[in-house]
Amino acid sequence: MKQIRLLALALLATSMLTAQDYFPKNDGVKETNSNFHAFTNATLFITPSQKVTNATLLIKDGKVVEAGKNVSIPKNTVVEDLAGKFIYPSFIDPYTNFGVEKPKRQGGGRRSPEYHASREGFYWNDHIMPETAAIDSFKYDNKTAGEMRKQGFGVVNTHMMNGIARGSGVLVALNDNDGEATRVLDDNFGQFYSFSKSVTSRQSYPGSLMGAMALLRQVYEDADWYSKGNIPTKDRSLEALISKKGKVSFFEAGDKTNNLRADKIGDAYGVNYVIIGGGDEYEMAQQMKATNASFIIPINFTDAFDVSDPYLADYISLEDMRAWNQEPTNPKVLSDNGVPFALTTYKLEKPSEFSSKLEKAIAYGFNKTKALEALTTVPARLLNMSDKIGGLNKGMYANFLITSGELFEDGTTIYENWVQGNKNVLASKDQTDIRGEYTLAIGGKTYDLNITGDVSKPKASVKVDTLEYKNDFKYQENWVTLSFTDEETKEIFRTTGIIPTQGGNFSGKAVLPSGLSSQFTATKKGKSSNVSEEKEEEDKKEPKVYEVLPMTYPNIGYGNAVQPQQQDMLFKNATVWTGENEGVLQQTDVLIKNGKINKIGKDLNAGSAKVIDATGKHLTAGVIDEHSHIAALSINEGGQNSSAEVTIEDVVDPEDVNIYRNLAGGVTSIQILHGSANPIGGRSAIIKLKWGEDADGLIYDNSPKFIKFALGENVKQSNWESYSRFPQTRMGVEQLFVNYFNRAKEYDSAKKSGRPYRKDAEMETLAEILNGERFISCHSYVQSEINMLMKVAEKFDFKVNTFTHILEGYKVADKMAEHGVGGSTFSDWWAYKYEVNDAIPYNAAIMASQGVTVAINSDDGEMSRRLNQEAAKTIKYGGMSEEEAWKTVTINPAKLLHIDDRVGSIKVGKDADVVLWSDHPMSIYAKAEKTIIEGKTFFDLDTDKQKRAAIAAERNQLMKMMAADKDGGGKTKKPSRKAPKHFHCDTEM
């Protein structure tokens, strides 16, 4: 009762501190309290690096008045002596959705997709909502605030986690006592972005990561155009974006490569995003540093897998197990690399996990001062609020922690978390330390009582000699309650007693088994015994630190321990398939130097080059796949009937194990094509399979520019439930092309005229086609549509570069030859849909016979690793010569991709992208023994053997660690495995 009154008094006092004086008061009389509050003799951290001993912190009205050594204390000050205790600025969480409920996904199942925005007066895309103000739906959440304060947080940044552009957030102090007027530090704070669509709209676009990227770029372009007064109509989204220019922009990227993607967009439009990462940044710490961005990093380290069922454990990938092993080093590695970052509770299941995860990071080497900075000064700086939060300088908010010792040390207790001058008790700091050994006298018997553990939450043991009695012990405020069972008599004793402030002996009331009330006394014998302290330590859940296993490039199974190095090599005595007029040369040497083919001939001098005996083996140029969908995070942007604005280069995935598997099939270069979800698809990425390098390293330098077009059933959406997107017929497909090219022509002439124009990535791309700067590879099946596109192109005075798939190319091969378009086809696929009824395996041979440049492609991550065999099918079907057949997977696709000056044949001066085969390269019995790109060996049969052994050993090592972790009481999760990516043209992503 007394306590409640005290609390009420405290509440009154604080509200008086902050109540606006122009507000009427009807529940009492208006009075002001202008007292100060001082904390003296404390070890005070004004900032993580500014430590003052014997310091005073003086606060008033929720702010710091003075902090340091020689603080003069006014007379009207409540003084608290904090001798032996520590004061820290409280923590800031810069990325939460505190008090802002996430909207629920709209139900509706698999209805026909929606292509239009559901709103009017806003941007044309529902997922762009910069006009959202989180304050409108903000509801202060006492429960979460309490949980956050327990972890040491005083201020959080919150926003609506929905959509690509998410609008502004709210910066709020975790102050339960005062109203919104006080605790909301900024109600229109920052700008928030992500790559994820809004769950409240079913608008299809963007349906992919690359689409989200393109959309954001266009939004920035359009905002610029709008701000210059070029758009006569009202767009509240763009207006919001323009009005918030200059505010801190937060980008939830979510993993290491998405961090780089976000940074790339920001760089292009002069926005320096604060990037919210995913916890895997340690794998690319240097690239993170190179962005010059600041980061917010979650510490939701994954639990160990439960590997107790060996069958199920077998499904877990090495990659996922390594993540468990390596993730806890993320904060340390970033810190060591000088990457500026703040920490967040984001992604944790609940805020209470924070301290244990942080302990883990510290156990894995994260510096404690850096940790403190990542929770105070760094987030304050990222939020542009360094003058108000994150430290305890004069004038800053009185947001601070009072602790029993140094933060992040074992046994340190956070006693109090003050927010805006309001005290929040987490553990009583005034509790007397009663730990020690006592003789407990009760009902004429004596027992040994030993009190150990935390000062604020001690534990007890009750013993007679060595026999331990079960007990229930509580110590709250200054009262102790203890009940125990006498193991000899099986009788229960209950006691409760008050602790004197100075400690020592205590006594109180006891209820004997008979029910009679009596007295007990506990007489202190001394400090608690060492034996039980040791036991105490065993009980404590110290984070276990396991050996951190080395990363590979990429950091998954079959990654390289070290990046392959360029090496000069001499292949002796090979059968050399030149792919040039020289044809196939017997017993010939090929010298590779500085990554290029240096010499071809007999008895060449090796010099310093490594000699490889290729007797009985075949050396060819690396296989080139004109149509691949491996190594990409998304393939289709089908949210609109044209997606010329997207590019696969944005989403190249260098960590796809299919790169390695392709290398094992002798493939060295591929074109990653956009899918066939729409007539005008996205731009391609042409890459070399340099396994272990990052996305930029894979993409060709000065890459020729390509775009995917598509015709037929996929673009008409014939084979799934979608009836609302134009076109639904081949007739519509033609008109769509004509319309887009008409518009691109107008756009291009506006651009060339020098007048201002609205920059449009889609039109830019199409204009490049009209200007002969970008080439089309068009997915096509039946002869009518093939003919149509050639006629459209001729009308607009350009040439179609490649028809891909082109299964009825044989019916119009003469027309194709005349137009000058190449054909990149399947060897023998058909019967999978209606439009391939007339697809025949003789297609390649017939087209070639009419002078069309013909390639055999895969469109499939399995077939691509056997393209040498697929090429051989052109010999079976239609009787192509062996040399011509081989060209369909080497020099011909190189020609179609405009990279034949660099790769595709064995010719002096070309890149040393070669394959050594065990047998005739088109024999079904041949194996690629070595696959070399620019003189670097990316696949080698012997190295592959070593990698297999290493994978087996490492899997075993990690499983043992995980089993030990479970054994030690660690949390586990059930085995899981990512869905393997196996994309085709019509994969919806």
Partner: protein, 431 residues
């Protein structure tokens, strides 16, 4: 709506119109036929150089280096003769075009429907079936798919007027998809998209056990009640029918075989068997043959050897198991690549003749037609083909003749016709 109807009717007419594409089936063998001078790949692991093969009334009457010629002689010097390749566990003839629902007769509704019979839906005039023949694939097991017990298959030959003509062995086996202990998350109900343990695995296995026990009990009774599904199961207990169990995981394989055996099923064939190489002694002990997944597949798991699918059948064969290749997971048109799936094994170090066994002799044994098909053996059906070169290699697989039960079948297809038609067009243009 009107449009959709229109589209449907157009598709129907086109499909029916083109469904008559198949070449006219050959008449039965009239006189004796002799192939002379060829390398005969017997299909049992052996090879006869410079062989003479004689067949009469659809059966092989002589084979050997010294066999006497009889009747019409085909000079096959330098050429190769192989037994007709057999495609097990295929939906050939049950579906024509994957994306055209109207052409799909492969998967009936229902979880345990053993009485569903593929034979009566088998389209003997399928253009896809026809396209098997120029590659040497002459026999197949038309197999329903889907559910747990998908139905009953029949074995057919690929040159027929109708399904009755086509039938080689009627209702030969029942096909069962074993539940998976680890499966893809049902993301549409909020589970992660990746794979995770199947919580209902035990329950699903139990349902199979109960069904097998019920079927057995039905047979133990008088079997008189009109339960077609239970009747269809009876062959499993007396050896008339084989049980084809589709399972890939180590645990699933052990569970499936153990369950089927304990339920009293006498002839069990494992289909799939991605992890069968981990339980070779178990399979051997239980005498279970494997119709292993074909070689042109990606590894299932990221950490698996890149060439695990290439060498998997070899691992099983080397372990002493009876193995043949199937491609039930692939599209039907791919089935013509069976010889190349076998060829891939040679690159992995398997003997060529052994690799051939995996698509001929072994397949016939496993399907229970080994007494009449699968090898070039006197007394067996003259179902064979002549290839210009090595039929397991794309460059050599060039058929000049093929016979089914001694009938000299056409090697023309819808595809060769189009090839000839358009080459003719261009030649006519003087190019």
């Amino acid at each position: 709506m009107k449009n959709i109807k229109l589209i449907c009717s157009i598709m129907l007419t086109v499909i029916t119109a083109t469904a008559f594409g198949q070449q006219t089936p050959a008449p039965s063998q009239q006189g004796a036929m002799t192939i002379k001078g060829a390398t005969a790949h017997v299909g049992d692991g052996t090879v006869i150089e410079n062989a003479t093969i004689v067949f009469e009334n659809g059966k092989i009457t002589a084979i050997g280096t010294n066999a006497a010629s009889k009747g019409t002689v085909i000079n096959a010097n330098g050429k190769h003769v192989y037994p007709g390749i057999i495609a097990p566990a295929t939906s050939l003839g049950l579906i024509e075009v994957e994306a055209v629902r109207a052409s799909n007769d492969r998967d009936e509704i229902g979880d345990m429907i053993p009485n569903i019979r593929s034979l009566i839906a088998y389209n003997a005039e399928s253009k896809v079936v026809e396209s098997m023949r120029p590659n040497g694939v002459l026999i197949g097991q038309a197999t329903p798919q889907g559910g747990t017990i998908s139905g009953t298959s029949s074995i057919v030959q690929f040159d027929a007027w109708n399904w009755e003509d086509a039938a080689v062995k009627v209702d030969d086996g029942i096909h069962m998809n074993w539940p998976r202990s680890f499966r893809r998350g049902r993301w549409w109900i909020g589970e992660p998209r990746g794979f995770q343990p199947n919580k209902k695995y035990t329950e699903e296995v139990d349902a199979v056990k109960v069904y097998l026990a019920q079927a057995k009990a039905f047979g133990n009774g008088n079997g008189q009640s009109a339960n077609e599904a239970m009747k269809a199961m009876q062959g499993l207990y007396n050896g008339d029918k084989r049980l084809y169990v589709y399972a890939d995981g180590e645990k699933e394989i052990v569970d499936a075989i153990t369950t089927a055996q304990e339920a009293g099923v006498t002839k069990i064939v494992l289909v799939g068997g991605y992890e069968a190489y981990k339980v070779i002694p178990f399979l051997k002990r239980n005498n279970v043959p494997v119709l292993v997944q074909h070689t042109h597949n990606l590894p299932n798991k990221a950490d698996d050897d890149y060439d695990l699918p290439y060498k998997l059948p070899k691992l099983l064969a080397d372990g002493g198991l009876m193995v043949a290749l199937q491609n039930s997971s692939a599209s039907n048109f791919q089935t013509r690549n069976l010889p190349f799936y076998a060829g891939q094994l040679v690159g992995q170090g398997m003997d060529k003749e052994k690799a051939l066994q995996l698509i001929t002799g072994n397949t016939a044994e496993i399907l229970g037609i080994g007494d009449s098909y699968g090898t070039l053996t006197v007394g067996k059906s003259a179902t064979l083909f002549i290839s210009e070169g090595d039929a397991l290699d794309m460059r050599g697989n060039q058929l000049s003749k093929a016979f089914i039960d001694g009938r000299d079948i056409s090697l023309e297809t819808h595809q060769t016709e189009l090839w000839k038609r358009y080459m003719g067009k261009y030649e006519g243009q003087g190019k």
